[in-house]
Symmetry: C2
Subunit: 408 residues, 2 copies
């Protein structure tokens, strides 16, 4: 039975474990997946503070002030950043205050330094009296406590992939360490007698092995840790040796790409089934139909086709979602972009993924095929800026239609 | 004089050096920038090869074949993947061939195994005779030499950021190592008496330092190497100590984020100018106006504002382009997406960057503000899926307009 892409993805995801957790310093948590909910332990800002360098005042004291009729206030204190006033602001007084510094009790507004006769420099001498040239409303130039978030508010949920901006938020909460998921460890090998490592001398009938480089880069980009095991020969024994090495390396998932021949894949299937099982071995898609998954010695196994474009598409369609799920991400969704297809495209009714160029025009993205879409053709993939998805059952999409593309 | 965003960016980029080069193994080149042009040393495929497991034939020999009237051919050889036939295919003969294996001389087509009486398994015994159930055209199931690219074709240009698919192409060309640019080394420090490292006990009037976490993550995402130097106190001496530590660390660029106070920034400016120069200190943008750059001891210096959202936007607007350029990328362009703005937004005529949520609808992306856009507010940035750019001079964009957004 041939599974649809959606059926295969659901079945694959159902069998995958979620990685355990570990504590890491905040500075090492970029790209990791949070494994705990984080709530705010305090308001942010924690205290009412000034949004300008200037003078904290009682707004009633400067009512009606102007350049022609300035109001004169005693300067009763100085509040640099990081300090707070120990006394309450008295009527007719002011305190010099720096941006971000806590408002003194009694003050309800700030007059920016440029609206006074004071020197603009923070480290200048404190004047005894300041002339205020403008009136301010209560709350003026004050950033109130809790404007960003309030104590107890849920801010980050377990299952969030941490970007630099989330790290900043964790820092703001005072978290020096975070509980995160371990990176899923993916053991990768290729198989096929025709494969040579790049750098070696080329031989008749051979080709250079490419997929372990593609797949290790893609695994990293999806938050996994790639463990490269090289190339297996087309013998049952050598494929088993590689599968066993993967298990012994502590892999959370074994990822193979078979030689391009069906015959080559047969060895992989036989080796997996010798101590495991294959749950699915074909998916109704193009390219990438010979997509396989199961288990070997209770470790999840995924077999991708050998052709470079098929392996790449298979990763994007299945493995990227799988790695996010194994890594603890909840509810990961690929961000598709709607684009205008600029030429008519055809397929055979299988769910199809075509390599396209993007032209950004003032209203929309316009997309064009990059050239020959054969699954062995790598250069048209290198030129591609996105993959265009043709749903199952669709044999033709006419030029000028709107389509979904996945930016690469 | 206040520079526009474009003026500031051009002026900043003009003063930056491009990193030198080094050779790295292909497996370590993911995300690096190629420093050499690569042309194809051979055709790909290098030789005509079979696109199916089956039998290589002369198409004339199977003309008119059908299930009812099969054509019988002697099986004169076996060509597994990685091997090539040493003899020419004679009329009336066939050779068993695996997907990807080189076509033998004399053959011009392949009959897939399922259109013959042969056993499907590659490792089955070779039959003496095969019955062919279908005719094939000349060229049928043959992938011709040079279909992907041809010998001498320029495939990758110096200045290309290497994605997994480019690594695969380099592998296909046999490149075991690549000449790439060194990662630009960015020394990062914050300054401000109010800043505490996350993990320490909170004190009155203090806040936790966030920008070094944001900036180091962003530097990594733009292909740089971040070197963290901690927080400087608001004294000329301590800021100079941090600047000197950056120079001694071999930094290609020094990146500081000042405390939120203007006063705090004054120490940074004075320290830089004590042995260097400031070329610009304000840009007509929102947030992020106090954006500064220059040189300290001949090392490029960039100063970002202290407010978390300002520092983030400053990085995205200036530093991301700067890091790609320093890393050797040629012609980097941010991929903006056109989206429908779902609410009217206002600014003050400065080039503005607003934090938005994306709703993907069947025709387009629709975007909404994430909440309070204050430059000290981090949570609305964490919630944002994109930044919306309002060009300079625009004070209002009405709901339902098309806008450019930068996905985050």
């Amino acid at each position: 039975m041939m599974l649809s892409v959606d059926e295969a993805l659901q079945k694959l995801l159902a069998g995958l474990p979620v990685s355990g957790t570990e504590r890491v310093p905040l500075a090492e948590a970029n790209g990791r997946v949070l494994a705990e909910d984080l709530a705010a332990p305090f308001d942010s800002p924690r205290f009412d503070n000034s949004s300008m360098d200037g003078f904290a005042v009682r707004s009633a004291d400067v009512h009606g002030a102007s350049r022609q009729k300035p109001k004169s206030l005693l300067v009763a204190g100085d509040i640099p950043a990081g300090k707070s006033a120990s006394t309450t602001l008295q009527p007719g007084h002011s305190m010099r205050i720096m941006t971000g510094a806590a408002m003194p009790a009694g003050a309800d507004a700030v007059v920016p330094v440029e609206d006074t006769d004071a020197h603009a420099l923070a480290n200048g001498a404190l004047p005894a009296v300041v002339q205020v040239y403008t009136q301010v409303s209560a709350g003026g130039y004050v950033r109130p406590a809790g404007q960003d978030f309030t104590s107890g508010q849920q801010l980050l949920a377990a299952g969030t992939r941490l970007r630099p901006q989330e790290l900043a938020l964790c820092a703001m909460l005072g978290q020096g360490e975070l509980l995160v998921h371990r990176k899923p460890r993916i053991a990768i090998f290729s198989s096929g007698d025709e494969l040579l490592p790049p750098g070696e001398k080329l031989q008749a009938g051979k080709i250079y092995e490419t997929n372990s480089f593609t797949l290790s880069g893609l695994v990293q980009s999806a938050g996994g840790e790639a463990h490269l095991l090289g190339t297996a020969k087309d013998t049952l024994a050598d494929v088993k040796t590689h599968l066993d090495a993967a298990v012994e390396s502590g892999a959370d998932l074994i990822l193979s790409s078979a030689g391009v021949s069906v015959g080559s894949f047969d060895f992989v299937r036989d080796a997996v089934e010798s101590d495991g099982r294959i749950d699915a071995w074909k998916v109704n898609m193009r390219p990438g139909k010979p997509f396989t998954f199961g288990q070997y010695k209770n470790v999840p196994f995924v077999g991708l086709p050998g052709n470079p474009a098929s392996a790449f598409v298979g990763f994007e369609v299945f493995l990227r979602a799988a790695l996010h799920a194994m890594g603890g991400v909840r509810g990961w969704q690929r961000q598709a972009v709607r684009a205008r297809l600029m030429e008519t495209v055809e397929s055979d009714g299988r769910e199809s993924y075509l390599r396209v160029l993007i032209h950004v025009n003032p209203r929309e993205w316009q997309v064009y095929l990059t050239g020959h879409q054969g699954s062995g053709n790598l250069y048209s993939l290198v030129q591609a800026q996105a993959l265009l998805r043709m749903p199952a059952g669709v044999k033709k999409i006419r030029a000028k239609s709107l389509v979904d593309v996945w930016p690469l």
